[in-house]
Structures are given as structure tokens and as C-alpha cells.
């Protein structure tokens, strides 16, 4: 889930010094001031010991690089220290609640890391003979079985590498199906105003135009607006369910009925599958295609921004168009079909080299086996319970965007309660950092003013939820009491104060370059 820049300043306002006490070296207690790798002076250094080559590269003549590359090196102790020091400047789910809405930042079990590093998975080449990878193919086959069972869908394409890549895969299936049916003129996609930015971006990527569907006052798709916009040129609708307001689309069956009646397909963004896993099958809702972010619902680690994995489940109508590769079973055991020729001439192509994010498949499968059908159902229930608990508690001081009825796995607030305080959603979020929490998703969805989208996930204990709620309630009271400096200057206690994004964009400095002597970076 992204942070939208809409409606928020990108330049820090007048800063007050964060602490009266300053160290002499620039360090802050245990938090070291760490230069860039390139400033550590290791142009000739290396942290590896390699044997000398027995043959030279004279056979390559002038294909060989003449000048220096410009890389810095570190000995092993220096490298360890450099990256451990940097690591300490990050917030992480292992440190505290990380309530980024629609990102599903849940606990990452270490068993999954251990399994993914087994030599039989990690040290396996994608193109070695298939007779030597039967266990890997079996795992892909089992993972597919779980995903199909949990979603009630008959087919799955495993290869997409993240959610947005899965969206692309789903829309390409839809496009191929329309073309095969002589409906290639359908080139418009309907997307609710509350949709994640990847939805319209993906639609544009496959050459479709995007029309927005209005939202009702209670945060759902406006059925009459949908009906008026469906027509013979519409290829698909893209709807997130539960939606980005954290609400279940009550009229989902009617949405899919209308869509199908108009000859269009229903693409569901599965980013929020965590709320319903084990309890609701998207196949029962009339969905034709849905990506599943394994890094959300099935807990593969987010890794500072990936890698993810975005398998796409498909309905009977779309299954024939799924891209290569896929696993089949025959007399010789399991086999990977890598080229769609005779067996499925309708497959639309290939999403990437090789077979998808195998390392993530192992982790997700370990997660599924650990939970089982009973544990996964409990995941959805506890995720929804935790979000409703946060919503109930924070409503004492903050205004929920949709107060009526329960939310699903995330609680959405607007900024009406901050009116006249001089504090913005951004300021409030930055003050949360000083209290030791990662801010929620801000200014998204765009349909809610000053939105704050909080997703606690099921792996938060009640005590941590209480600690979080109490910190936010205290901040809310401080904002209303006029303690504006606490917010405007925040964060005070983070490794850095608020950063100047406008400066970064105006004069982009995207790589380190040697500075002429004595001209210290500003």
C-alpha cells in the first residue's frame, strides 16, 4: 500500500532543535552516524579471498573493460558493522506494531525462512532437468491446491512476482478471453474512486482506458453508477474486496451479476484477502480473477520493499488463457509446462523468465501448513476483531470515516476531528513515530479527507493494541489541547527529523559522486 502525496506538504516547516544536548561526534548514543559505503575509503579493499585465475582474459582482446568501475569495498568486519548500523535506523514489525493499512504487516515466522534456505529449494536451478526437481514441482502443485481451495477458484497462475504484476496477469487473461470471443473492442475498465493506484496504472498498461465508479456515502460501490457505466465497451471491473475503506462490499453478488450480464469480467484486487481467508471464498462472489499477495495474507516478509509474490486465481472462463508455466501430472510424475503450444494454444504468453517466486512459495506453503484450515479461519477472525477493537477504542477521540457497522481488517479514520487544531494527518502520523510506532497509511484512500488507514493484523497481542491505542488517544488529546509543536516539528526522537522531499525532487541526486575537495554535501 502506498502513501499518497495528495494534500500533504512535502517540505518540513520551521524546525526546532530536537534535543538540547548534542554529542561532539554526531552519534546519538547507540545510534551511530554512518557514512555511505563510498565514503569509507575502501577503494582497494575487499572482504573476500579468491584464488588467482589460471587463465587470463587475453582471448577477449578489447572487449575487456579498460578503466576502473568505481566500486568501493569493505573488509568483512567493516561490512558487518556498516550494515548493522544502518539496520538500526529502520522500524520493523519485529519491533512494534506496523499498522500500514492494506499492507498486512504481520509477524513473519522464522521457520519459513529456514525452510526456504534448505538446499533442496534455495540451491535449485530453474532449468535443471525436471526429474531432479520433483519436490519443487510438488510444492508448487500443493501451493496451487491450497490457493484454489481457499478461493474456490478452479485455476491459478503462480508466476506473477507481486500484486501489481498479478493484476497485469489477470487483465491480460481478460483481454485474451475477450479477443478469443470476438470482443476485442471492449477496452474500458471500471475502477472505484477508492482503488489502489496500481489498478488504474495496470489497466493503462494493457492499453485500456479507465472510468471511475462513484462511491456511496457508506463507502461502497455505487450500484446505480456502476450500472450506468457498464456497457458493450467495458472489458472488466476492478474492485477490491474488502475494499480500501476496510469495508466488505455488501452488494458484491449484485456487482458481479451486473458485470457478467454486461459481458464484462470481474477482477478482484486481493490485497485485503487476509480479512476473509478461511471464511469466504471469492469464487462464491462471482470473481473471475484475483491476485493474492503472498507477502500479505501468507506472511512472506516484506523485506524493505519486496520481493513479493502475486499468484492469480482464475475462473473457468479465464483459465485457458493463463500464462506459462504451470505444473501437470503425467506418467513420469510432475512436469512443468514451460511453453504453451499444443496443450493450451490460448495461453497469452509469459509474465517473466522462469517459474515465479519459488522462495516465496516455500515460505507461504510453510505458513499454510502451520495454520491449517482451522488456523487460517482464525487469522481472518482475529484480524477483523483486532481492527474493530482499534476502531472502537480510537473512536473516543478520533472520527471513524464510516462509523456505522463493523469494519473488516482495517479501521479508517478521517481528519474531521483535527479540524481547528492546526494539526494535519501528516503531523499526527509523524508524532506517532516519537511514540515508537510506524504511522498508518495516510491520505489513502483518496475518497476520505486526510485519511488514516490502520491495519493491526491478527498477530498483535491485546496488550500491544492497548499500548498503541493509548498512545494515539494521548496524542489526540494533546492535539485538541493545542500542543501543536509536538506535531509540527515531529518526529523529534527518530534517527532523522522530517525530510525535505521537495528538495530531493527538484534537484535529484540519485547516486553518490566524488565531491570536489572540501565541498561537503549540504
Amino acid at each position: 500500500m502506498s502513501m499518497s502525496n495528495v494534500g500533504r506538504p512535502t517540505r518540513p516547516e520551521g524546525a526546532v532543535a530536537s534535543t538540547a544536548h548534542q554529542s561532539l561526534s554526531g552519534g546519538r548514543g547507540l545510534l551511530q552516524d554512518e557514512p555511505l559505503l563510498f565514503e569509507l575509503g575502501g577503494w582497494d579493499k575487499t572482504g573476500v579471498d579468491l584464488p588467482l585465475p589460471e587463465h587470463d582474459a587475453s582471448d577477449l582482446g578489447d572487449l575487456v573493460r579498460a578503466g576502473p568501475i568505481g566500486l568501493a569495498g569493505l573488509s568483512e568486519p567493516e561490512a558487518v558493522r556498516h550494515y548493522v548500523r544502518l539496520s538500526q535506523k529502520n522500524h520493523a514489525i519485529d519491533l512494534a506494531l506496523y499498522p500500514l493499512g492494506s499492507c498486512t504487516m504481520k509477524h513473519n515466522p522464522r521457520l519459513n525462512e529456514k525452510a526456504a534456505r534448505m538446499a533442496g529449494f534455495a540451491d535449485l536451478h530453474p532449468l535443471q532437468p525436471q526429474s531432479t526437481t520433483q519436490g519443487a514441482l510438488a510444492l508448487m502443485d500443493r501451493l496451487a491446491h491450497w490457493l484454489k481451495t481457499l478461493t474456490g477458484m478452479p485455476a491459478v497462475a503462480l508466476s506473477p512476482k507481486a500484486g501489481a504484476h498479478g493484476e497485469l496477469c489477470g487483465l491480460l487473461c481478460i483481454k485474451a478471453a475477450h479477443e478469443a470471443a470476438g470482443q476485442g473492442h471492449r477496452r474500458r475498465v471500471l475502477v472505484p474512486t477508492s482503488a489502489h493506484g496500481t489498478n488504474p496504472a495496470t489497466a493503462a498498461f494493457v492499453g485500456y482506458s479507465v472510468t471511475e465508479i462513484a462511491q456511496t456515502a457508506d463507502g461502497r460501490v455505487d450500484l446505480s453508477d456502476l450500472e450506468s457505466k457498464l456497457g458493450p465497451d467495458v472489458a472488466a471491473i476492478m474492485v477490491t474486496n474488502p475494499n480500501t475503506c476496510g469495508l466488505f462490499e455488501r452488494d458484491i453478488l449484485e456487482i458481479s451479476r451486473l458485470t457478467h450480464a454486461a459481458g464484462a469480467y470481474f477482477y478482484c484486487d486481493g490485497a485485503n484477502f487476509n480479512a476473509i481467508v478461511g471464511r469466504v471464498r471469492p469464487g462464491d462472489l462471482g470473481v473471475d480473477a484475483m491476485h493474492i499477495n503472498l507477502h500479505k495474507t501468507f506472511s512472506t516478509p516484506h523485506g524493505g520493499g519486496g520481493p513479493g509474490a502475486g499468484p492469480v486465481v482464475l475462473s473457468e472462463a479465464l483459465a485457458p488463457f493463463a500464462p506459462a508455466p504451470w505444473v501437470v501430472s503425467d506418467a513420469h510424475g510432475l512436469r512443468l509446462v514451460e511453453e504453451a503450444v499444443d496443450e493450451a494454444a490460448q495461453a497469452f504468453g509469459r509474465m517473466s523468465a522462469f517459474h515465479g517466486q519459488m522462495g516465496m512459495f516455500v515460505r507461504a506453503y510453510a505458513y499454510m501448513l502451520s495454520h491449517g484450515s482451522d488456523g487460517l479461519r482464525q487469522v481472518a477472525e482475529d484480524a477483523v476483531l483486532n481492527a474493530n477493537y482499534v476502531k472502537a477504542r480510537l473512536s473516543a477521540e478520533m472520527s471513524p470515516a464510516f462509523p456505522e457497522g463493523p469494519c473488516m481488517h482495517e479501521a479508517l479514520f478521517d481528519d474531521a476531528w483535527l479540524e481547528d487544531t492546526g494539526v494535519t494527518t501528516l503531523d499526527f502520523a509523524k508524532a506517532m513515530i516519537d511514540e515508537g510506532f510506524h504511522p498508518m497509511t495516510m491520505y489513502f484512500p483518496l475518497v476520505v479527507h486526510g485519511a488514516m488507514l490502520i491495519e493491526p493484523t491478527e498477530t498483535e497481542p491485546k496488550a500491544e493494541l492497548d499500548r498503541f491505542c493509548e498512545a494515539l488517544l494521548a496524542l489526540a488529546r494533546a492535539a485538541k489541547a493545542g500542543d501543536v509543536d509536538r506535531f509540527k516539528g515531529a518526529p523529534y526522537l527518530a534517527p532523522l527529523r522530517r525530510l525535505d522531499e521537495t528538495l530531493a525532487a527538484r534537484k535529484p541526486k540519485l547516486t553518490w559522486k566524488p565531491e570536489p575537495a572540501a565541498s561537503e554535501a549540504a
Binding site: 573493460r65 568483512e76 519485529d94 519443487a136
Partner: protein
């Protein structure tokens, strides 16, 4: 269930605060027809021991590359990764954080990305690099679409030396956006055909070096031909270690360089996750896809890093974004950067020289077997012609415990190159491995 902290008492108390009679009430918006009362037909939860046992059982059904002589490459390479790399990437602060949306508490990730971008720009000989793509093949597709935005032309020419999976991925994705993708016939030496095909409607030419047959090419002439017609040159590399020995794409006139970065810091992982490298000339930066990390200052004037130029991206621009990419390959990029920091200039050059040396030894052994060597100039990978079907030869060699490379037909069954075998050697390849390969191939080819 060990990952779920709420107790039954917690749940009851929380429902009380919410004012709901039971948890089912929280799912009231789900149509009754779609609420599943019963558990799904899947196994129940299992303890850590049981899960580990099941995964170990599946892992044991595979033969790891390190279990014996192993010569597969073709876009994924087995290298030694220092233990330090895997240790650091498993630190909680790197492993369990997300995209650095809050820069004040994500400087660790952001500074690493800035170092990563600097390293990638240096390796490719270009000015700017992004914070990673999913992998080399998707980076290639994105580069082609970027060329369309820059030149406002629709045609892309893909060299016959481009990895067939990269060509297929680019064809699938870029064609969907409306581009005309011209895939040239598979060819060991593809240079002349590429130059011949460039015309005034060409947005870009995509050339791989070392190419899928292992051939190292000086693409300077292709760059000149492309630029003369107003087209961009995209240079693809699937073996990032080769940057340590060979002229960089930027030095040879590339406008965009993309690569698979798996070779540095990342395990084979049966094909993923990997890390796509993406670099370009400075003037093209605002048309680049993906995240970019930039330097700035904080409110006290201290240096720091943020995600920048985000007006190119989907969360701001929505349908007008340069790409739909959101999550990319952060942790794999971190592994890449740590490994490359350990190598440094000296180590990378040594490693590259060592790979080339091993491949020279392998080449001599293959020639000794009497196989026709198809690759005139190579880095660490060679194509040979075998008698009969290369897939059958690989199966026979496997019976002797040798994984003898990748049959080209596995990448592209339609090319009519069923007798072409691709073999790679790296620093992990020993002289004993090469001797075993020669013996197994001698036997397999004689049968």
C-alpha cells in the same frame, strides 16, 4: 496456534468493547450465501516440527546444484555467496520492514538503496539507476516501454541473441500496451541482423551481451546505428558478474541497461525471487519506471534519503504512471549491495576473471570431447553443438551424476536448435567437475 496471540478471554473482552455479541457479527456485511460455516477441506494446523519435516521431505526430492558437477546457466548462475550476506539480510530491521514510506524511520533501507543505485550505475556505466525491478526479464519489458515514452515510436527490435524468456516476457507485456515487437530469429552472432533492421520507426533495439549463447559483443556499432535513426539502445545482461571483466553498456553507447542481478548476493531459488537492475542516462530519468531513492536533508540540515520523483509512479499518477510497479525486490537488492560491498572493485574483478578462467578450462575440455564450440568470445558460458538432441544428452549425463547444462530447446522449442547445449562455469566449478563433465559427455555422445 503459535502465531496467534489472542486468548479466548481477550477475544471476549474485546467483543465487549466493540459491542458485538460474537465474531460472526463482525462479518455481517458478507452475504449469507457466501459465508462458509464449515472448515475448508484442508489439513488442520501443525506444529513446527511437523511442518519442517514435510518441507524437508519435499526438499529431499530435489537434487541441489551443489550436490555434484553442475553446468546450468542460461539466465541464472550458481555463485558462492559469503555467509555475511545471508546473516545481515535476516536482521529483523531489514527483513520485516516495508517500502520506506516514512523516511525518518527507514534510513537503513533508504541508504542501502542509495548505495545500490550508485553501484548499479557504476557497473553499467550509466548515470542513474532505480531501486530495483522484479527481475531481469521484467526490467527488459519495462525498458522497452520506456523507450516508447521517450521516442514516441512503437516498434522494438529484439535481437536473436536475447534470452527467449526475456523476449517472450517483453512481447507479452509491451505488446499488450500496443507496441510492435519484432523478435529476430535466434542467432549466435546477431549483430548484423540487428543493424540491418533499424529504421526510422524504431523506438529501440534490445541486445544482450553476453548473449544467451554466451557470446560477448561490442555493441558500439549497434549503438551508432540506433542513434543515427533516433532509436535507443537497450543492453541486457543476465550474468551481472560479467560487469567485472567486460566493457560496460554505458561505455559502448547504451541508453538503458537492464540486468538480472541474481548472480551477486542471491541464491538460485529455482528461478526467484531475483533482482532486476535498471540504469539509464541522466536525461531519461523522468521516464524511468520504479522507485528512486534520492538524497536530501532533514529539518536540522542533516543528510538523509527519501523516495523521490514519485510523480512518475502509480500511487500519484494512477493511470498516467510510467509503470504499475509497486513492491519490487528490496531484500534481494540489499543482498546484492552487501555482496558487492564485500567484493569491492578488487574482488569483483577477481571474481569475474576467475569465472572466465574456469570457462576457458571448460571450453578446452569440451573441445577435447570433440564437440563443436559455437561461442567465439565468451565470459563464463558457452554454446556447443552435440550429436542429436541436447535434452537426451543431458539426461544421459545425469545418469553419471553430471548436470551438463541447459538444452537451448528448453528455452525455445521452436528455434530448430535442438542440438545446441548451453554450459556455464563459475568460481564454484572445480577442475574435477570439468573432468567429470568431459567424461560424461564423451560417454553420452558415443551412445
Amino acid at each position: 496456534m503459535r502465531y496467534l496471540p489472542l486468548t479466548p478471554d481477550d477475544r471476549a473482552e474485546m467483543l465487549g468493547v466493540i459491542g458485538a455479541p460474537d465474531v460472526d457479527a463482525l462479518f455481517a456485511d458478507v452475504p449469507a450465501a457466501a459465508r462458509k460455516r464449515d472448515l475448508f477441506d484442508l489439513p488442520l494446523h501443525a506444529g513446527e516440527l511437523e511442518v519442517e519435516r514435510e518441507l524437508a521431505r519435499l526438499a529431499a526430492m530435489n537434487r541441489p546444484a551443489g550436490a555434484g558437477p553442475f553446468f546450468c546457466g542460461a539466465g541464472a548462475y550458481r555463485h558462492h555467496v559469503p555467509a555475511t550476506v545471508d546473516h545481515i539480510i535476516q536482521r529483523s530491521e531489514f527483513l520485516t520492514s516495508y517500502t520506506p514510506y516514512q523516511p525518518e524511520i527507514a534510513q537503513g533501507t533508504l541508504q542501502v538503496l542509495f548505495e545500490f543505485q550508485t553501484q548499479v550505475a557504476a557497473l553499467t556505466g550509466l548515470d542513474v539507476a532505480n531501486a530495483s525491478m522484479y527481475d531481469g526479464s521484467t526490467a527488459c519489458a519495462e525498458a522497452v516501454m520506456m523507450a516508447q515514452r521517450v521516442t514516441r515510436r512503437e516498434k522494438a527490435i529484439l535481437s536473436g541473441g536475447l534470452h527467449p524468456h526475456y523476449a517472450a516476457t517483453t512481447q507479452t507485456i509491451a505488446h499488450a500496451e500496443g507496441m510492435e515487437i519484432v523478435r529476430q530469429q535466434a542467432a549466435i552472432d546477431a549483430e548484423a541482423a540487428v543493424i540491418e533492421a533499424i529504421d526510422g520507426e524504431t523506438a529501440c533495439v534490445v541486445v544482450q551481451t553476453p548473449n544467451v549463447f554466451g557470446v560477448v559483443t561490442d555493441v558500439t556499432r549497434i549503438a551508432e546505428a540506433a542513434h543515427a535513426k533516433g532509436a535507443l539502445l537497450i543492453v541486457v545482461t543476465t550474468e551481472a558478474v560479467s560487469y567485472g571483466l567486460l566493457k560496460s553498456p554505458g561505455d559502448m553507447g547504451a541508453d538503458i541497461a537492464v540486468a538480472e542481478g541474481q548472480s551477486i548476493g542471491n541464491a538460485l531459488n529455482y528461478g526467484g525471487p531475483y533482482v532486476g537492475l535498471f540504469a539509464a542516462r541522466e536525461k531519461l530519468v523522468r521516464q524511468m519506471p520504479g522507485r528512486l531513492c534520492g538524497e536530501t536533508i532533514d529539518a536540522e540540515g542533516r543528510r538523509g534519503y527519501v523516495l523521490t520523483l514519485s510523480t512518475r509512479e502509480q500511487h500519484i499518477r494512477r493511470e498516467k504512471a510510467t509503470s504499475n510497479i509497486c513492491t519490487n525486490s528490496g531484500l534481494c537488492a540489499l543482498a546484492f549491495t552487501i555482496h558487492l560491498s564485500l567484493l569491492g572493485e578488487t574482488g569483483l574483478k577477481q571474481l569475474a576473471a576467475l569465472n572466465h578462467s574456469r570457462a576457458r578450462e571448460m571450453r578446452a575440455a569440451l573441445a577435447g570431447v570433440g564437440l563443436e564450440i559455437l561461442t567465439p568470445r565468451f565470459f563464463n558460458e558457452i554454446a556447443v553443438r552435440v550429436p542429436g538432441d541436447a535434452g537426451a544428452i543431458v539426461e544421459k549425463a545425469l545418469a553419471d551424476g553430471v548436470v551438463a547444462g541447459v538444452p537451448y530447446s528448453r528455452l525455445d522449442p521452436h528455434a530448430g536448435l535442438d542440438d545446441v547445449l548451453l554450459l556455464a562455469a563459475t568460481e564454484t566449478t572445480t577442475s574435477d567437475d570439468i573432468a567429470a563433465l568431459a567424461a560424461a559427455l564423451t560417454k553420452a555422445c558415443a551412445q
